[in-house]
Assembly symmetry: C2
């Protein structure tokens, strides 16, 4: 089950969701692999990989055909396996431009380990680049974390449109697993208005679970821990546990 965590808008909680959801699924006994597709390597860094040790990474897999099994690292503290990213990924559009299989690179690599994991989660950068296209082509499902601010609705509409265009152009067949509200600040008129409009428009596609703002989620990476290795009883930890349960129900049904 390959799930792409995607939103071309910046700072919507993609990395936090990828790591926390992954860790929550691992705590339920699932075998989980995290694929870091962001040149900024936020997921890798927040799991404690030193900046100087990010190689080898998804860049080696996508550009040089390095095998996934040669690149994956067990991050025993978190119960997650990880393939790191690094800054070299930023040249993906250039590096892959001449290859006929440029959109399939990640899919081919993940096919070699699909049966070894229950969940493979890809963390995407805030863009619609060849990196994100590779992740969309490789995935069975995609999940959109969105902060319910004034641009959430517009952003979702244009993201869905971009995915549909890519779908037709590139034979992407991953389905939308769900829209997840992140960094929710309760008690705001704006929040209530936006979540209301989004739920009205997308109905059951929106997860019941909403991730409220919890400073513990921002602090955990600075301790190189997932939320469960830091404050497992915090509101943020419990919210992602509920999300994991929702994800398991939805993928079991899928």
């Amino acid at each position: 089950m390959i799930i792409n965590i995607v939103n071309n808008k910046g700072g919507t909680g993609k990395t936090t969701t990828c790591i926390s959801l992954g860790a929550a699924l691992a705590r339920e006994g699932k075998r989980v692999l995290i694929i870091d597709m962001d040149p900024q390597a936020s997921a890798s860094l927040s799991l404690g990989v030193p900046f100087a040790e990010l190689a080898p990474s998804t860049a080696d897999i996508l550009f040089d055909g390095r095998t996934l099994t040669d690149t994956v690292r067990p991050m025993t503290d978190s119960g997650l396996d990880l393939v790191t990213a690094e800054m070299a990924l930023a040249s993906a559009d250039l590096m892959l431009a001449d290859r006929a299989d440029r959109a399939q690179r990640l899919r081919e690599a993940l096919d070699t380990v699909r049966d070894d994991y229950d969940f493979i989660l890809c963390d995407c950068p805030p863009s619609m680049s060849m990196l994100v296209i590779n992740a969309m082509v490789a995935a069975d499902h995609y999940l959109i974390p969105v902060t319910p601010d004034y641009l959430a609705l517009e952003g979702l509409l244009s993201l869905m449109q971009a995915v549909d265009q890519a779908r037709r152009g590139l034979g992407i067949d991953c389905t939308l697993l769900g829209i997840l509200f992140t960094q929710v600040q309760n008690g705001l008129n704006l929040t209530t208005k936006v979540t209301g409009l989004v739920r009205e428009r997308w109905g059951k596609l929106v997860f019941d679970t909403e991730i409220r703002r919890d400073v513990r989620l921002a602090e955990a990476p600075s301790m190189n821990r997932t939320i469960y290795g830091y404050t497992p009883n915090s509101r943020g930890a419990r919210a992602y546990t509920r999300l994991a349960q929702e994800v398991m129900r939805r993928t079991a049904a899928a």
Copy 2:
């Protein structure tokens, strides 16, 4: 005075800073032009331009040589002039690839209106694309809004490195006007630690003004207002007024 608002990390308050700083400078009697360089057009949308009315935009200027004076719109409510962005900008790297002057397109356009404005502020997308390179080549200064989270220090180091590389490769000569802490949540150990490390490393390059989290800054765009047209006495409004004063001092000295 052309100032580029840049950070390749998502959601660090670039658009909020571009609009609010611009509006604060306008309130001080300055003539201000906002250039939206983000395909997601957040700055344009938050100033009340309907999604369907984003054309003509910076895309027409960069790709088709449309003049700036033909594209600029007075946004009388806010006291700002605006050149909108639109989704077509996302193909900039492709569209400009064959032009020898691909990095100079914005500079050439802004040269035609430089004397008509005291401040021209460019809002950048979260990337290091040809759009951002155009903005860096065009600018006299750049300002980096950064949220003091666990990745702030790493992000600043790699951003500065990327700018230096581009500087040598492309003859960029804009100087760093300052680093601005945004979305600061007080009372957090993490915040104190990160702001301390950044100030220790970059000293006077870090603005004294820090923009604390203020829900009014998130709400104003949903009312199609700048913070000054919405809640001019809010903490967020007063913080950006202080920033404007710091920016005026620094640019007067520059």
